[in-house]
Symmetry: C2
Subunit: 154 residues, 2 copies
Amino acid sequence: MDPECCYLFKGLGAEKQSPIKSLVAEIPMRRDERIFTEGEEAATLYVIKEGAAELMTRDDEGFELPIAILRKAGDCFGVAALLPPRPYSLSARCVKEGALWTLPREALLEMMRADFELGCMMMTNLAGHFLDRLKESRQELRVHFRTLLRSTHT
Amino acid sequence: MDPECCYLFKGLGAEKQSPIKSLVAEIPMRRDERIFTEGEEAATLYVIKEGAAELMTRDDEGFELPIAILRKAGDCFGVAALLPPRPYSLSARCVKEGALWTLPREALLEMMRADFELGCMMMTNLAGHFLDRLKESRQELRVHFRTLLRSTHT
């Protein structure tokens, strides 16, 4: 895996990216396979090598609503692994078969403790990514709000 | 300001919190005063000492929709200051007069560069906070989605 493909590891430079590569394993991803479920212990960070994964969240009635589909090499999910003791905040399943790169939580956290500059850069990348998602989510709320206003006024 | 009151500085320990205190200035916050506007350069991080601030986002027609009201001592906003070159992602105005603690961006970033462990802990706190907001925002979308479904089926 080239760490530069994933937003978490961007801009670190070759020297800091090098220990990341040694943590990566590769596993197959089979169509319809569930990768993890919301609420489970976040033991692993996943990065797409090839194929596609859908992220979902469960509503009060247990129905799983789609949140996003990740299909680019380097797209990652399960980032709650970087924020213990938080469990996975979404569920993930394979929607197009391929392969995943996996990075175990404990080794990632140990690497960040051994090099806090690396840790600070990765967590800055993560916070920036979340802020962008938050802006998108607020934008969606605005659109729904407007649709709702229209549907109740017609 | 006791840094422990703000989620960004929680769990750092007295020694790491000490340089933060030296960055803090205090300014009054007057009713209806605009503190900053979405899109402006994020030069300052704000923490509520007393009073209340409303956060807002602008829709395509320039109308400002409320996102949240912060009213507890230690509630902070303008955290884009920690993620240059991002501008403020929301606007803020005073809705109950009081006082704000301010921390200048450059001094905060310099402090994190001088102590990457401190930086890593702060950015981890920030990412965790964003993940919690993201979950709330998704929850709101689910509620709107259901309301919308109901309103189009009745």
